[in-house]
Amino acid sequence: MTDLTTRARSAASNRNTVAVAVLLVLALIYPLIVDSLTSLPVIGDFVPKTDSMVIMIVFTTMAIGLNMVVGYAGLLDLGYVAFYAVGAYTAGWFASQQFDQATIDFGAVGIPDGFPGIHISMWLVLPIAGLLTMLAGIAIGLPTLRLRGDYLAIVTLGFGEIVPQFVRNADSLGGFDLTNGTFGIAPIDSLGFGAIGARLGLPESFRQSSDRSQWYFWTAVVILLITVFCSVRLRDSRLGRAWIAIREDETAAAAMGIPLMRTKTWAYAIGAFFGGVAGAFYASFKGGAFPADFYFNISVFLLCMVILGGVGSVWGVLLGGMILGYLNVEGLATIGSKIQQSGIPKLDGFDPTKYQFGIYGLIIVAMMLLRPTGLIPERRHKIEMAEGVHDTPFYDVQLEGTLTDRDSSDD
């Protein structure tokens, strides 16, 4: 019996490995075959371009980061866009002409010698952005993670609104231009392999290369793979299991000796890290960080990816992220133009992109009512939904302190 289950399990895991390998190969050759895909009849128009794929992958990466906070630890974060913003602006600070008081060049590509501003190689800026965003996550988390459930959601939403307003207004903080205000920071340096790479036949700077899209695409895939790998490994780690314990029953988890504040703060910090990396990468891809990009709807968009795919399920979020990302970048516009071409008179002026957030709202409500565990449910979360979890009381108001109110003693 056990032998059979073991064999079944290993067969399943073999199948998974094969599936992942096939997907990976498909992903890697995508930029090379995309032209022949778009020329296919009927479905050809629906095939996303490589540039669109980059954006889809970036947002999916953020969704997987958000999934660590929302899905694993059960902390509803409605301000994830703040992490995206911090990541993007970090890229702006360390790899553009924003601070032209200084002239620092450390491995940057695609800029002339002696160019003003801080220019650190984007490959280094990506982890720097992740770490700074992590700090931002800790700074946001420390005062607020004591709160439970919906209060935490609102406070994170508050931070998600404060950060964009701050970057919009921080063009003269005591006379110092930190963010260049409404105009944003642009241009942000490109990724690239520099002079050494050029000798090997690799592009010196992605942006100036003729294969710009595909190089950004492959980099995005690598970032996504690292994120997925970390996400899966973290889920099975001691920390990940502590997150899930907190999600299921905070009081019991605390009673079992899990330090709540520290564990939750780690969830925040690590979730923030990937948001920051993705944000910095996206800023480099777009060539700038603009305050108008960071609004509440992005946070909900990412949350919608997590819910559609399956809360806590990495593969689900991957699927949900790619589906919604596609709809957002190209899908709705393509569908809209198809509808307009169809010649049905009443639908002539109908433009689904205008209602995209209404559509995401519908998806959220429909999923919550009909299939709350998502497209690819996570096994444990499914059980939780079926059996219910002990999640009351959900915020602490007692002045005397409760089990969870131990931030001074456990850290």
């Binding site: 919906d150 609104e161 979890v389 001074s408």
Partner: protein, 340 residues
């Protein structure tokens, strides 16, 4: 022992912040009392509007412990529909006589309040009721989805342009003492809202259904055992909240322009007000809203060291975060949920 010390330190920080704000307000008052009072009156008007929206949040929260995210958008949609009723159906404008204006507004109030009471209750029936026993975050996430749907209904029917109504309420002064003035159009907010608050307070305190609401808010299971129809009580709460959102939409429309996404920011301000006052506490919601109204007006209007309207949103959320960190139970606390 550490706990006690920790609490007093955080109290100290909180009190220092409050003290600094009070000093800032006082210095501004001394510098220019007239404009200070005028700005304060703007704060009073806006705070009253926030209060009506905040009551909707606090009512629902008191009963269901649900932040009804869609409430702000219901408010905005109500305002948009009210603009149609006032402009296209009733045709009120500057030339209408006083009687027609008062009668027309009364009709609009009744129609919109009834319609949006039903609208809000149907949202509850369709989207929240099936999730009564789901994990706590499920209804909240659903409410966010509903919020976007309602917003897009407004977008579909009214587009992205701001809707407005003619200035049929005169901007002439109702009160004029020295340089302190208060126009009829601002006074109309108080004239409409105060009777509503009196009725609401009477309803929650004195009627059987109001007592049932307070009982359910205190202990759902016990009140069910005492024979209270919990589902009906929840539906009534949503009806009340929807009616308040409708009224708020109208008074807001009389003061400002509205469009489909007005409800998002205003809803968050109102929610902050509800938390500031102590969520679940009806008087707290109004008190919190007035405080937020004053702070916002002072921030945008005062001359001495005011950050200005660029920072309003950050300040409101800053208050929210500080309150939740230092005094999560709000100013009035929630000793008696729904304790009007």
């Amino acid at each position: 022992m550490t706990k006690l010390r920790g609490a007093s330190v955080s109290d100290l920080i909180g009190l220092t912040i409050v003290g600094l704000v009070v000093v800032w307000v006082a210095i501004n008052f001394v510098k220019d009392p007239t404009s200070f009072i005028n700005i304060g009156l703007i704060g009073l008007t806006n705070g009253t509007i926030y209060g009506v929206v905040a009551l909707g949040y606090t009512l629902v929260y008191g009963i269901l412990q649900l932040i009804n995210f869609a409430h702000g958008d219901v408010f905005a949609l109500a305002g948009l529909v009210a603009s149609t009723v006032i402009v296209s159906v009733l045709g009120l404008d500057e030339s209408s006589s006083v009687l027609v204006i008062v009668g027309g507004l009364a009709v609009t109030l009744v129609v919109i309040m009834v319609a949006f009471a039903l609208f809000n209750a149907s949202i509850e029936r369709i989207a929240y009721k099936p999730l009564r026993n789901a994990p706590r975050l499920a209804p909240l996430i659903t409410a966010i989805g509903v919020s976007f749907i309602v917003q897009n209904i407004g977008l579909a029917f009214y587009g992205v342009n701001y809707q407005t109504v003619p200035n049929f309420i005169p901007r002439t002064d109702a009160i004029h003492i020295g340089d302190v003035t208060y126009s009829w159009s601002k006074a109309s907010v108080l004239i409409i809202v105060i009777p509503l608050l009196v009725v609401l307070s009477w309803f929650v305190r004195s009627t059987k259904q109001g007592k049932a609401m307070r009982a359910v808010a205190q202990d759902t299971e016990a009140s069910a055992m005492m024979g209270i129809d919990v589902n009906r009580t929840i539906a009534v709460t949503f009806l009340l909240a929807g009616a308040l959102a409708g009224a708020a939409g109208i008074v807001y429309l009389l003061q400002f322009n509205m469009r489909y996404d007005t409800g998002f920011e205003l809803g968050l301000i109102a929610f902050t007000a509800a938390v500031l006052g102590g969520i679940g506490n009806l008087s707290g919601a109004v008190l919190g809203a007035l405080i937020i109204g004053f702070i916002q007006a002072f921030n945008e209007g005062l001359a001495w060291f005011a950050p200005g309207s660029d920072w309003t949103r950050s300040i409101v959320f800053g208050i929210l975060i500080l309150i939740l960190v230092f005094r999560p139970e709000g100013i009035l606390g929630e000793q008696t949920p729904e304790g009007a």
